[in-house]
Symmetry: C2
Subunit: 374 residues, 2 copies
């Protein structure tokens, strides 16, 4: 069977599905090709934070992009709920970031300073246990980021794929892409495990596998590599942890159903998705140090995911410099949930109009070209 | 349906099945009545140690009983293998007990002294990493108990129930006992969820539930209470941990299939079997401190069990003082696997001959009577 589309999106994670939905809404016949199941991998193994401030490592274009994406979240998730009927549990109750040592206090105080200087809201809680009684006695101070939000990433993935399908997107699951085809420097489609798909545009939203797409000779794969993260899921914690709590050693994030996610690690373990004893020990120790009452919660499950990282820890968003019709939407590392709405918008702009006014210049694929080209 | 037997054994754990097999071998028509599944509860949630020396808290009748039971293990498991066809993975490679702090060194040195004085073999390893390279740099010294052994407790439970059935024992699973019936001070049987069983002898091997048997008015239940223990199972560790390793903060025990059991906790949590975040954190931290390479193993599963404890931490073995035909075989706390063969022998002696020459006088049920009777 030979399929035809305007755009093939490779990868059915939160980025691929968001891009596909947006393209379909703008009139493009779009097919998502996913090697496994939609909403798996890094999309599933996330905590669902919409938190550019709490998770920022400093000012710069990534923070600006994150804040622009966060500003879109309320309207975007409202539209998704209307289109899909799925409540994605978008919550705007802010994030508390706890300092457990004197060194932590210095790091967080500096973070508060530069964010305030950048015009962002940050509250310093001198007596954090008055605001969050569950915090342990080790906690010395905390920051509150009132504008950082959260979503249930598993429900978000479901909502996106339903909305995409209802907008006309075809989704092929369990369908690996063997190669991106091209003729005379232009994309002509992809070869998949379920046959070829003809299309003049291919969007690479393959996450940690985005560098292994089977590109034509001479076309540089994006420099994406996997960084493993592990999450431990506890049960029975809604009253213990009513809101997300962060420290420099990990986070605990509640779900509406009473589960609490505790994470996470940053590990160079290749493509090996495993939950290890050492990571579980570290995650649980950090979580219990911040919130001692978590020690009494029930261990539910644990999982690992592979974040798509890049050399500068910024995503790769935009047209490939060396192949017409190839567009990258990958490398979102720890921010795929946060950046999904603005990535979808930017990629749809690029595909439909050839350009975007959104602040993704610093995310352009060509920025790595000098050191990689022969 | 009304059943008849010579002996009803209440409880299908390792103690109940071992007792039933021994009784059947001596000619008694025996029925095991188990509220859930055989080989579950404390039997499953054990590490399978046959280790009276490593696990001893001091000299006394419990140690003597444990050593007498250990002496029976080789022949007993050989007979079980022949009767059942199940290899119970009995291993005689000894146990290494590591000291991680100066205080640990003092405790273990004292343990070595009194055990040697009692004529038991204990080797002091001044350079334990030469013997067990996986031990971490924190380990300062270790003891080796060459005569302490181990078995796969899950396989042991399977072997016992198969051997018991082949010896003629009937096993009723998912059959709760509602009451022990008696007339004129003598047992006449039990009422179960599957109807009555008439029998002149009832053996109470109900583990942590042994105090809730539904005894006739005026008959004192044995003072057994549950102590929760949690175990974390790791995968891929046979080369990391080729033999059982203990410390004062926990143990790691390998299985032939490459799993490694890490445990354990002592918790007063009633009958609530849960795996908690705090216990998992403690167990994993203790295991990784002793054997740092365990940090790289895969987290497989976790479970909790309820050990049947007694006020003096000794089992309750023998005829009840206040009801003819009621015999207790319970309260084995952390030593049910170790003590199964000698308990079976002693109980069969008591049931068949009215007495036993085995050293169970200090385990007699009547020892709690003074403070419990009205």
């Amino acid at each position: 069977m030979r399929r035809t589309a305007d755009v093939v999106v490779v990868g059915g994670g939160v980025i691929g599905c968001a891009v596909a939905r947006e393209l379909a809404r703008r009139g493009a016949r779009t097919i998502v090709v996913e090697r496994g199941e939609v909403g798996a991998e890094a999309t599933r193994a996330a905590a669902g934070m919409v938190a550019p401030q709490a998770e920022s490592s400093g000012p710069g274009p990534l923070l600006r992009l994150g804040i622009a994406s966060r500003e879109r979240y309320a309207a975007w998730t409202e539209a998704l709920a209307a289109e899909s009927g799925v409540d994605v549990e978008y919550r705007t109750d802010g994030i508390v970031y706890a300092a457990l040592t004197a060194a932590d206090v210095r790091v967080l105080a500096a973070r508060a300073r530069w964010q305030r200087a950048a015009g962002l809201r940050v509250e310093r809680l001198a007596h954090p246990r008055r605001h969050v009684p569950a915090l342990g006695p080790q906690v010395r101070m905390a920051l509150h980021f009132p504008d950082d939000h959260r979503v249930n990433n598993e429900r978000l993935a479901t909502a996106l794929v339903v909305a995409a399908r209802r907008a006309g997107v075809a989704v092929l699951e369990r369908t690996p892409v063997a190669a991106v085809r091209a003729r005379r420097g232009k994309v002509t489609g992809v070869d998949t495990g379920a046959g070829p798909v003809d299309a003049p545009v291919v969007v690479n939203a393959a996450g940690a596998w985005a560098g292994r797409l089977g590109l034509p000779p001479g076309v540089a794969p994006p420099p994406v590599f996997p960084v493993r993260g592990q999450i431990i899921v506890l049960r029975g914690g809604l009253e213990v942890v009513p809101r997300p709590l962060y420290s420099l050693r990990g986070y605990v994030v509640p779900r509406v159903d009473g589960r609490v996610l505790a994470g996470s690690t940053l590990e160079d373990a290749g493509y090996e998705k495993r939950v290890t004893a050492g990571a579980a020990a570290d995650i649980l120790a950090a979580a219990c140090a911040m919130v001692p009452r978590l020690a009494g919660l029930t261990l539910d499950t644990a999982y690992a995911g592979l974040r798509p990282a890049t050399p500068d820890h910024r995503p790769i968003i935009g047209a490939a410099p060396d192949l017409d019709g190839l567009v990258h939407a990958t490398g979102h590392y720890r921010s795929g949930i946060l950046l999904a709405p603005i990535t979808a918008e930017a990629i749809a702009d690029v595909v439909m109009d050839g350009r975007t006014a959104l602040p993704v210049a610093a995310m352009r694929p060509g920025r790595f070209a000098r050191r990689r080209r022969r």
